[in-house]
């Protein structure tokens, strides 16, 4: 014990130095984005590392040149609907897999596992065609419905429900509870924390989704923030103050969620990576 502890004193210093370096590499660009977004145009080519002056002109420019409110609402609607649907479908399916033994269980479970190997780029053309046949191009439904199920959410909840003491199910059953009641009155209240962090994860990835919206929406009124930012970038390429203001606004909602809930977010992301 002593050996390990003392030998790592020098290495611990190196450790701190390395990780502080990494923190700076990570934090500086984000800091620079903020500083640039509030730096007055008159001062623009100043590269002082610290803020010089403060202005909201770039934010005003963005808000008057980009239908930000609209994009924001669309993105929020898409992310919330996807999250709700993914958690719900995953909860029901995970409950089925964790509670019952039934014919074809292994096959069906494998069917869900296998979807992990099917990238969106393989299915994009048939899915695009179907969405367009349904008349869902440039519509919220087209952004939401194809992403209403998440295998990742299913596996996460499956692990959790499987770890649930079987006695609780049995006790509830003896009390005459149907499986539906047991799900909502016994299981869900106990899984509240897991469901909450899962929902945060799914919300973040839906908010940041770029590829699918790129295919199915090409108008500002029906688009999402990520596409708005891209359009702004191609049109106003060299207006860096407004550019950084738009980037800040796009990242801000998620960033706020992250700052408030960072511990849960980090923990559940890492667990998701490990499983």
């Amino acid at each position: 014990m002593i050996g390990v502890q003392t030998k790592s004193t020098a290495s611990r210093l190196i450790g701190h130095a390395l990780i502080i370096g990494l923190c700076l590499l990570v934090a500086f660009p984000l800091y620079w984005m903020l500083v640039t977004s509030v730096r007055p145009s008159s001062d623009f080519f100043n590269i002082s590392l610290f803020p010089t002056g403060f202005t909201l002109e770039h934010y005003q420019y963005v808000l008057s040149n980009l239908p930000f409110g609209r994009l924001f609402l669309n993105t929020a609607a898409m992310a919330s609907a996807r999250t709700l649907a993914q958690v719900l479908t995953a909860l029901l399916a995970a409950y089925a897999f964790a509670r019952w033994n039934f014919v074809g269980k292994r096959f069906l479970f494998a069917m869900f596992t296998f979807t992990w190997l099917v990238p969106q780029q393989v299915t994009m053309i048939p899915n695009y065609v179907l969405v367009s046949q349904l008349g869902w191009l440039n519509a919220l439904a087209g952004l939401i419905v194809p992403s209403m199920v998440s295998t990742f959410a299913l596996f996460l909840l499956f692990q959790q429900i499987k770890g649930f003491p079987q006695d609780l199910f049995d006790a509830a059953r003896v009390d005459g509870g149907s499986s539906w009641m047991i799900l909502w009155q016994v299981l869900v209240p106990n899984l509240r924390a897991v469901i909450a962090s899962l929902a945060i994860l799914q919300f973040i990835s839906a908010w940041n989704d770029y590829f699918w919206p790129l295919l199915v929406s090409n108008r500002m009124e029906t688009g999402v923030l990520q596409l708005g930012l891209q359009a702004f970038f191609t049109q106003e390429g060299d207006l860096w103050g407004p550019m950084m203001a738009a980037a800040t606004l796009t990242a801000l909602p998620i960033f706020v969620v992250y700052v408030i809930l960072q511990r849960q977010v980090v923990d559940s992301f890492i667990k998701s990576g490990l499983r």
């Binding site: 450790g15 719900l88 409950y95 940041n208 950084m244 511990r263 990576g273 490990l274």
Partner: protein, 320 residues
């Protein structure tokens, strides 16, 4: 199991006493129940994953331009022959390999080094470090692209201005010089990845039983020996897993940056397999070529995943 054993008995009973219907009906409901819960997820997975997977195979044997009004012409294996001979595809495959190899230092080497050196750091400092290095994961990829475009701007970007002021270097056009574009895109993607991977390795190190390290130290192993002989072998499942993630997902991770930074020029220089699939499908509307490449890519990635799973079962050391 118990249900299956009871089944014949229950049905025999209903035959002999036809009036008692309830047990049988209830039994059937019980049997159907799990499927009812599975139904929404199953239907969605079938419609949005398996249906298109089957359809893409069909499309790969046709020529089509994505217009609903224009007919699909069957062309046999012609698309596959074309795909195998197309220089754009060869280029994209080569680039994909370069991106993947270029990302490994960010997803494996740097994270392991940092995780090992920070092993044992606990408390407030560690919580703060974690919170900071994780941040890029939650920042939208589009934001990341735009942000780095500004930081690396040839004339007004902070990196070039810094280099100019400190060393008098001429502006480096990180995102406009064909030779520098792939390294730059790899770096930006790596920036988004390195913190997350560090946390994965750090978390599997904390799961390692401390007794192993202490036993090794008591046996007289020095720090490097502990790292090489104890920590790295115990990390091997995570190393394999993160390598698999990098190989399977590097194209997905780089896609956004390539697509935004190379909207028209440098498209061919920076392409990876996903951008060529996207370009053939949605820019030149050559659905046959795009579908045939998609099928081949799917088979390729499937084979890679199987090899990795086999390796994992074969070579990983588990801490049991």
């Amino acid at each position: 199991m118990a249900d299956e054993l009871q089944m014949p008995f229950a049905s025999r009973r209903t035959v002999s006493r036809p009036l008692v219907q309830t047990p049988r009906v209830r039994l059937n409901l019980e049997r159907v129940q799990p499927f009812l819960y599975l139904l929404p997820a199953l239907v969605l997975v079938f419609i949005w994953v398996y249906r298109p997977l089957i359809e893409i195979v069909g499309l790969s044997f046709n020529q089509w331009n994505l217009l609903p009004t224009s007919p699909k012409t069957p062309v046999g294996w012609a698309n596959y022959q074309l795909v195998l001979g197309l220089p754009e595809i060869h280029r994209a495959l080569l680039n994909t390999l370069v991106y993947t190899l270029g990302l490994l230092p960010f997803s494996i080497v740097i994270p392991i080094v940092i995780a090992i050196f920070t092993y044992g750091i606990r408390g407030r400092a560690s919580t703060l470090y974690r919170a900071i290095i994780f941040t890029p994961v939650i920042i939208a990829p589009v934001v990341v692209t735009v942000l780095w475009r500004w930081i690396l701007h040839p004339y007004s970007g902070v990196v070039n201005k810094g280099l100019q002021n400190l060393f008098g270097l001429a502006p480096i056009n990180f995102m406009g010089d064909p030779l520098l574009m792939i390294p730059t895109i790899t770096f930006i993607t790596g920036w988004g990845l390195v913190g997350f991977c560090t946390l994965i390795f750090a978390s599997s190190l904390t799961n390692i039983n401390r007794d192993y390290l202490e036993a090794a130290a008591i046996d007289g192993a020095n720090y490097w020996q502990i790292i090489r002989r104890v920590m790295l072998p115990l990390l091997s499942p995570s190393i394999l897993f993160v390598t698999l993630l990098t190989v399977l997902f590097s194209s997905q991770w780089t896609f956004v940056h390539i697509n935004i930074l190379s909207l028209s020029s440098f498209r061919a220089t920076t392409s990876n397999i996903y951008t060529v699939l996207y370009d053939y499908g949605f820019r030149s509307f050559n659905i046959g070529i795009s579908s045939a490449s998609a099928v081949l890519m799917f088979i390729g990635f499937g084979a890679i995943a199987i090899i990795f799973l086999w390796l994992q079962n074969r070579f990983s050391f588990y801490d049991s």
